[in-house]
Symmetry: C2
Subunit: 231 residues, 2 copies
């Protein structure tokens, strides 16, 4: 830690990779906003903005998320800090990237954003992005895939009540591989972290599916004893 404070300073921003899951299409999606200003005017970009001196990084991420996409109370975690010198053509900007997981329940809110246009894109059909946001998105995807395997964060992308098939589709989309139905069910149920509800999910012309909810309290207890989720 040096004692000199007189050098020019980099600007500091946060950018958020917001993931959502569309159960109908079994597709992992990302929320992007259309830029109204140069540089990269009319390009799609990650929601984000400048960090204020009186707010923490987490606060800044939540604030920008709320301002630009109307999303609140989502799972939010710091991802990585991007600091190459030329990532912003105007001047030096260092960006602390976050990734967020949203439940479909919250998506309606996300649609009604104020000024900028916001839209969900399947991760397989991402348009060209502003700045180094494609790199940030890639980093977030890698992290999400890794994390999904040993922490129960998949539930953050599903409604509070979900079927095992929805959960399996989610894992398959994120990990990019098909999974065996029987083995998948055996494994996720073996932890006793999924509570079967009295309700069923009726849809289409076939047998209704059992609905479950995730039990976060029980998970906390297990986790403190050194339990690893693993799928």
């Amino acid at each position: 830690m040096k004692h000199t404070y007189e050098y020019p300073r980099a600007a500091l921003t946060v950018d958020c990779v917001v993931f959502g899951f569309d159960s109908a299409q079994a597709a992992l999606q990302v929320l992007l906003i259309r830029r109204g200003l140069a540089p990269f005017k009319d390009h799609w970009a990650l929601p984000g903005g400048f960090v204020r001196v009186e707010e923490t990084l987490d606060d800044a991420a939540r604030r920008e998320l709320e301002e630009e996409t109307n999303l609140s109370t989502v799972f939010l975690e710091q991802l990585y800090t991007f600091g190459t010198v030329d990532r912003d053509p105007r001047e030096r900007v260092v960006s602390v990237a976050y990734y967020a997981l949203t439940k479909p329940t919250d998506h309606t809110a996300a649609a009604s954003t104020d000024a900028a246009e916001a839209r969900w894109f399947p991760v397989t059909e991402i348009p060209p992005l502003a700045f180094d946001h494609a790199t940030i998105l890639d980093t977030a995807l890698v992290r999400l895939r890794g994390k999904l395997r040993y922490e129960p964060i998949g539930f953050e992308l599903l409604p509070p009540k979900f079927t095992l098939t929805q959960l399996q589709r989610l894992y398959e989309s994120v990990l990019g591989t098909p999974l065996d139905k029987r083995n998948f069910r055996k494994k996720v149920l073996s932890h006793n972290l999924l509570v079967p509800l009295k309700e069923t999910h009726r849809e289409g012309t076939h047998r209704p599916a059992q609905l479950f909810r995730f039990d976060p309290v029980r998970y906390e207890k297990l986790r403190k004893k050194g339990f690893l989720f693993e799928i």
Copy 2:
């Protein structure tokens, strides 16, 4: 991304958690420097300093490491960015933390630092640290433990030629649990990533130990095929 540039800016620093491993004592160690200036004058702290506008974050971390500890060519990876508002009593400072792994071969260099006093501390005997550096160190330890289990970064803490017992002691110190000798050897050798050398390591009054080196080329090939290290 907003278009306003006129707000006051946070200062941006990098801090490095430098790990080393003392085979003789089988102890994981951290390199700390004594602060010569307020605040926290005479406290121990992580090496670090301000990021210049014309250098990347990685460059800043390497530069500070070299300036303050004479260490170069070490394994260096971004850890997490710490941005609570009051972490520095003087003003708003956001710090991008890195962790570094050094081989004992480099340690001699580390001793001969210029002005500030630098010293290795076993992770079990860390003195009170300046700022939020204790939190940063904890975060680094958690990361190191996690990473050691599924990526071959342990070799970054050993000399280029090492014995299996040294490797086992390293894993035991970092993970904090004793490991079974036969099972450990079976597992690390099963990947064929350790090349036995023609030399042995003679020490003390007992049978000499076979020396090995890690084969990074072979590891790269395996990794690209989706191989996971795992111990």
